[in-house]
Amino acid sequence: MSNYLYILWIPLLPLATFVVLGLFGRKYFAKSAGIIGTASLLTSTLLSFVAAKQYFFEDGKVNGVYQKIIALKYTWLQFSPNVSIDMGVIVDPISVMMLIVVTSVSLMVHVFSLGYMKGEERFATYYAFLSLFTFSMLGLILSVNIFQVYMFWELVGVSSFLLIGYYFNKPSAVAASKKAFIVTRFADLGFLIGILIIGFYGGTLDIGLLIEKFTSAQSPEFISITTASFLGASMLTWGLVLIFMGGAGKSAMFPLHIWLPDAMEGPTPVSALIHAATMVVAGVYLVARLFPVYSMDEAALTIVTYVGAFSALLAAVIACTQTDIKRVLAYSTMSQIGYMMFALGVSKNGGENGLGYMASMFHLFTHAFFKSLLFLGAGSVIHMVHSNEMKDMGGLRKLMPITHAAFLIACLAIAGIPPFAGFFSKEEILTAAFHENKLIYGVALFTAALTSFYMFRLYFNIFWSKDAAVKAHHSAGHDDAHDHGEGTWTMKLPLMILAACAVGVGFIPFSQFISSDGAPLETHIDVVFSIAPVTLSILAILLSASFYKSHNAKSDKAVAFFGGFYRAAYKKFYVDELYLFITKKIVFPLIGQPIAWADRNIVDGFMLLLANTTAKISTAIKGLQSGKVQNYALYFFGGVLALSVLFIYIWK
């Protein structure tokens, strides 16, 4: 087994960048911060490519199966003899794959931000946060210990919080960051308890050991956890479902998805990195990481499946109605992640049945590229128009050709049109779904169609339709749009690279490298099978073209046709309002306030009552000291009598 220790540097470099920029950035690196961050990240990226090469092509495979390699493991916090939090580096197909994704996307974002964030006051801080995020994400990927996952999970959350709240004096941004953190935190509570359950029965927190123990149906741990049950479900189900709750929170699965759209308050490159390519797929990664265990529990997997499928559908429907382009992208992200989730859900562990697993990972991989491409494209559009709203856009294809081309490629990719990347991965998913569960397959198909519809709605609204509007828009003095035109090369370059990926990555023989059990998996594109989805997508594209390519009333008719349903979708089916109701109308006034009141008035009031009664008594009995010497003598005699009676007659 060769040495992978250098992988440690991949996360550590961004960490170093964070420390340096965080401490001294404001003073010394106000300008050069971007270069520093990019440079260090470039190194990590190269390293991860080296690692990938070494793992996939040189020595990762032992007699035809990719091995799990623990490159490093250090006991960080010992709880009890064999339960401990370990810091480590795991090298296996998915972790290496994620390394590639995270580093390269992050690199693109770094480069893009050089132009996009130029002249920001807290430029250095921005890069510090980016590095922090990259570090945490990489750490999460490389975790060997489920608690290590949880820690980096939290760190990812907080760095996302910091980046969403980057424009800290913008109330909406602050609110969004708060919301994102609290919702995911709530999900993490489930994750934590899940860890506690699994860890307790497994007697360890080490992922490898856990899988080992829970995949053999005879092991005492497995028996104990499956026999122990609470509210009718076995503890295994509980543990896995709770852990999935954590994943759902990060990956914005229904009903924990509400934070994702608001998260778009952050700078667009951040959205591209965190809320499109990397962090939001952490949930998928988590389930994949523990997939062998999940595969032992039917119930948990079913939940994963249906939550994923429903989220995919719901998000797609909502996306059709949104007008803020970033929000549209956000919902499409949610729906794509839904794809990955149910792909995992319908999968089995090992062999041909592991197709779903592989497909999910594949989609994760391709999605990372075209979705970040979409966001960066949207970024440069926003950079030019200074608005997120569709109505302020239109006919930009002439003004920003490169962006236009890249965006189009990305749209085609996500729509699953061959030969773009999305096509292949989505194809596998559909195949897997088709074999496992027809209902899911139907949902997936419909969602695919919707996807291509709203993506092209977006595309046409931005780059075609109402030219006049844009003309007027620009003649009205927004000449700055022309000055920096499409933005610096640092903004264009990432677009081109990612576009290339969006075209190319589909052709990687993914199943050769990644499968549920590490053994290569033979897959083939079945042309007959792919007719249905592709034609559907094309139809959807044509439909949206007829709606939005040129400004006309068709879309309004459609809106009118759907009526209430449209409004509901436009209002995101009132999930936000529901949450607001629960917090503002129930938690705060019905739990918080009563407790705060009780503390002041009942608990503290009781103490005060004691004091006051004492004072009252002392005023009440002050008459005893009447000042009349005869009464004194009388009391004296009374005392004598009392004592005599007590001690001569009663307590003799």
Binding site: K622, G623, Q625, S626, G627, K628, V629, Q630, A633, L634, F637
Partner: protein, 104 residues
Amino acid sequence: MNEIPLTHILFVSTALFFIGMYGLFTRRNIITMLMSIELMLNSVNINFVAFNKYLFPDKLDGLFFSLFIITIAAAEAAVAIAIIINLYRSHQSIDVDDATEMKF
């Protein structure tokens, strides 16, 4: 000769004692109160003498004690009278209820 039994004498002294106490509790004139206290002391004297005479005639403890009580009562009375006179100076009265400035 038949002599008076001890109990009779004790009864007298006790009666005297409580009469004195009653006087102390009820009389408003400080001088009178002082006199009632003297009554109490004298009842104690009777006790001592009686006990001595009836129960322990061979030693004279009781008698001497009563002598001392008489002397000290005199001293006490002297100081008390002085105080009362001074009280009269400041209060223009020797009614005990007029001297209830300090209370509670």
